[in-house]
């Protein structure tokens, strides 16, 4: 006998071989059915993600090394210049924040007057991108934070300019994000200027979102900003999403063709922000 017993599973007679293949096929189909309809397999997926982490690390590492070296090699002068520029930006940002604080306070008082529940502020955590998968049928990025950071399913991911997407799979050390441009993605948005709510769907192209549910008569024009409407409770309300690029009313059809360009720097970043909502205490709210 050439093979020891523990290899028995993978070495069988020809009838056994056919049976084994049939079983594997059935197992694969059963897995897909489970995975498509339930969350039951998220622990299995998490374990598999742990196994493939080294592969993603391998893909990412040369790039990360290159970036480190590039910044090491950047000249002293260039760094000084950049530093000065960043400091100017910081001052401007601080002025904005100070103004924001005043607005926030005013908003809080107004909300109290209206007896409405205030929006809870969120917390963000920066994480670096491991791999990017931008095929025409999928826009998926993997980031270097998983269960170890308390990441949860459906969690929104943003950058400084806009919404990036949401967490769809979580591993122990990494998680995968479906971008808002993924063909399977739909994000509830509202037109900033008019407050009209609609959905923005992914198209598979990194710079195009489609808004297929706007009637021809809708008040919308190129340049309008779209912000997350917060419907569905997933994306942070009011956070920028996209800017409208084209509006083409369709004669003879109920809906116009409207497309928009995402504001987030999709696919051009090394870091993204995970948005943690401080959950409002539902039990205590009447």
């Amino acid at each position: 006998m050439k093979f020891t017993r523990e290899h028995h599973l993978f070495h069988a007679t020809s009838r056994g071989r056919a049976l084994r293949t049939a079983l594997l096929i059935l197992a694969a189909i059963a897995l897909m059915a489970l995975d498509n309809h339930y969350l039951a397999l998220r622990h299995v997926r998490s374990a598999l993600l742990a196994v493939v982490y080294p592969v993603q690390w391998l893909v990412n590492e040369p790039g990360a090394l290159g970036r480190t070296m590039a910044s090491d090699l950047a000249s002293h002068h260039a760094l000084l210049k950049r530093n000065a520029e960043l400091e100017r930006k910081l001052i401007r940002a601080r002025v904005d924040v100070a103004r924001m604080d005043a607005l926030k306070e005013e908003n809080r008082r107004l909300r109290l007057l209206l007896n409405a529940v205030g929006r809870m502020p969120g917390r963000v955590v920066a994480t670096s991108i491991l791999t990017v998968d931008m095929s025409p049928f999928q826009s998926l990025i993997t980031v270097n934070a998983g269960k170890n950071y308390g990441v949860h399913l459906g969690q929104p991911v943003i950058d400084a300019d806009g919404v990036i997407g949401q967490i769809t799979h979580i591993g122990p050390l990494q998680s995968q994000i479906m971008l808002i441009t993924d063909p399977a993605s739909a994000i509830p948005v509202e037109i900033g200027r008019t407050g009209l709510a609609t959905l923005a769907l992914g198209t598979g192209q990194l710079n195009v979102l489609s808004l297929p549910y706007l009637p021809n008569s809708t008040d919308i024009k190129p340049g309008d900003r779209l912000v997350a409407s917060g419907f569905g409770g997933r994306y942070p309300r009011g956070y920028p999403v996209a800017v409208v690029t084209a509006v083409e009313p369709q004669a003879g059809e109920p809906f116009a063709h409207v497309s928009a360009r995402p504001l987030a720097r999709l696919g051009r970043e090394h870091e993204v922000l995970l948005y943690f909502t401080a959950k409002p205490d539902m039990e205590n709210t009447p």
Binding site: M32, P136, F137, P183, L206
Partner: protein, 162 residues
Amino acid sequence: MKPRWPGSVLTIAISVVVALVLTIIPLPGWGEALRPAWVALVVFYWVLALPERFNVGWAWLIGLLMDALTGNLLGAHALALVLVAMLASRWHLKMRMHPLWQQSLGVGLALLLYTVLLFWIGGIAGHMNRPLVRFLPVAISVLIWPWVYAVLRRVRQRYIPA
């Protein structure tokens, strides 16, 4: 007794990891649509070369890892790769006799089925697909097969004694 097992397992594992890396390594936009089905090619080769040691069971496991890696429905690539491995093991005796270009035809057929299956599963799972773009990698894979074959054969002869 287990002679030369560790060596062959390690060699195969490394080749699979390389294939997985090539599967997710970023390419510029147009390159994305042309990326060969690296993992399927590697699986096809190992079943062809070492049908007793590398078989559908391994193909299934590798497929599962691929599903996790690419964020697909768990089981999709497992199923598709089992199909590829099954065809390769059916054909392995015949294939060894044939010249490379005829092998390429076999590879093309297996990858066509692989792609159709994944396409179909994607459709059921509700993903939007652009069919033509999806089949370009099959053609690229067939074209690249002779090189994959040559490289892996060198690797096998070097690291896995017959």
